[in-house]
Assembly symmetry: C2
DNA sequence: CGCGGAGTTGAAGCGTTTCAAACGGGGTGG
DNA sequence: CCACCCCGTTTGAAACGCTTCAACTCCGCG
């Protein structure tokens, strides 16, 4: 794989989008593969014939628009993005964030249009891979192929986490989960888990969490009053991880004290799915219809 | 690729879990690849060395448990599943549905544990692929490789749709979006778009939508009173698609006059994302914020 | 037949939304 | 340089909608 050295890219994009600057001579193929989750480091040539580019994206600029027929797959190298969908009435729905190592614009792999726009929350850089070439298994070498697989599965797992985050009930619980989720992300990216830079306004956070932006503001002060966090507009410091985690675990029920709980719970008793081992008493027993079985082939 | 012919599966699984029945001689490799989204039909042999199985899963039984170290990837062949996470207090959080053609247990591709359990909502059949073999690009032939790619991207797109569905504000809007989303899914699977079988109780729908189950019940009667749908417990008929769609479009904030604050719309003006054409003056290059450091790879 | 679960509906409590106002910072223009 | 304005943030107060608790019906099942 060759790291594309600017040129044609710059030519293609008229003056109207020079905000996406190619950064010649900056990145490396090894870094790209590592970003995508590949453990092993490529020795020299991996045999792939993909021409990747490295772009710079200024904060608050769009990487691609909603509905755009972008034919590129992006890998976030630094910074972060929000994926937003603008509804008919002008309301901006934030559907998720993409941070270092995450894929953006994967819909282009199917040749479709982008369902949402991607906007940089901060100064960011992305690797740009032409989807046309990427769709051909021949042109992706084995390394890029494995990396793409890994990145896709990883993105899928992050999407599931996002869903879990948004499934909270109370607004401050949602915010607590969001902060812990962000903290985890920052930690994985090698940054501090305690000090967070949100890079988003209350309105964006509110949209992502599905509440009014005033409610987000109130939830911030609530968590702050509890001593869990210290808030300075867009900079948050987590003071009490355990407290914050306890709050994040709160489910359908009261929001005041996470401790004074009885066994009432929404309860799962009774007719639930016929949990493993319908025969013998609910004893331990290993779970699962051991799928290892079919490996016997 | 060979379609595994039962045997060992039945033997190993005691009477306690015979609910997962292999179905010898039923499926076909062509069907599996088609399910995963591959357009072209495999001619004869595709060169892959994966041993797939076909299992039957009875309704209300679990395909795999939360936290299980399943080493299999599943492809839904018929029926549907819910992905649930059981919280500490026993509350069951439904995180999503998996319908015909969708992947289940993709976390096994990374060797991790399942973050949620999968429970059949109805009589279902799944193809079972050993993740151990699947992780080896050599053993997946080009066809299965392409199919896996397609299925991963497809699942990713469906996850985004789910997030969008759950981002609604009002409960009846959520329900409207859910029904339309389900209708679309059923249509894509070749079934009726008008007549839906939910196969879930109100409690599960409520968990998926993030509201109380009584609220779901009320929302059903609301939509029914509007004449949009006809409800018979778990069978729903959509009577007025346009009306239901209009209700589903309802968002937070100004729904009355889209023109009153026409210019305001978060889209192009003011501080919003500096949409297109910041102009050449923005000037070239300048240094990377920070990541330049890690480019040293 | 009676039990238990699912679904529906009603009434009350309360959290969130909405409307409104005030504060503060960052930018522009005088 | 300061004033001013815009916008994001915060906080308050009232209205709404959802949640919760409760009662009731329907249905399957032992």
């Amino acid at each position: 794989m060759t790291l594309h050295e600017s040129n044609s890219q710059e030519a293609r994009s008229g003056a109207s989008r020079c905000r996406l600057l190619p950064l010649p001579g900056q990145g490396s193929v090894a870094e790209l593969l590592r970003l995508m989750g590949l453990d092993c480091v490529p020795t020299a040539t991996d045999g792939s014939a993909i021409s990747a580019s490295l772009w710079r994206v200024r904060r608050h600029t769009v990487l691609f628009h909603e509905g755009a027929r972008s034919d590129c797959l992006y890998v976030v190298r630094s910074g972060s993005f929000k994926c937003v969908k603008t509804l008919e009435d002008g309301y901006e729905q934030v559907l998720g964030l993409a941070q270092v190592g995450e894929l953006l614009g994967f819909e282009s792999l199917h040749g479709g249009r982008q369902p949402s726009a991607a906007v940089a929350l901060e100064e960011s850089t992305v690797y740009v891979l032409p989807a046309r070439e990427l769709r051909d298994p021949q042109r992706r070498g084995p390394l890029l192929d494995a990396a793409l697989h890994h990145a896709l599965v990883d993105k899928l797992m992050r999407a599931a986490e996002t869903a879990e985050m948004m499934s909270a009930v109370a607004s401050d619980v949602r915010l607590a989960r969001f902060l812990l989720w962000l903290s985890e992300r920052m930690g994985q990216a090698g940054q501090s888990r305690r000090r967070l830079s949100l890079h988003m306004g209350r309105r964006d956070i509110a949209s992502l969490l599905g509440v009014a932006h005033e409610t987000v503001s109130r939830s911030f002060t609530t968590l702050s009053d509890c001593g869990y966090i210290r808030v300075d507009i867009r900079d948050v410091e987590i003071l009490d991880f355990d407290g914050l985690r306890a709050r994040a675990r709160t489910t359908r029920g009261h929001s005041g004290n996470p401790d004074s709980d009885a066994v009432r719970s929404a309860s799962v008793r009774g007719r639930g799915p016929e949990v493993a081992t319908p025969g013998p008493p609910r004893g331990g027993r290993s779970s699962l219809p051991d799928p290892g079985a079919l490996a016997a082939a």
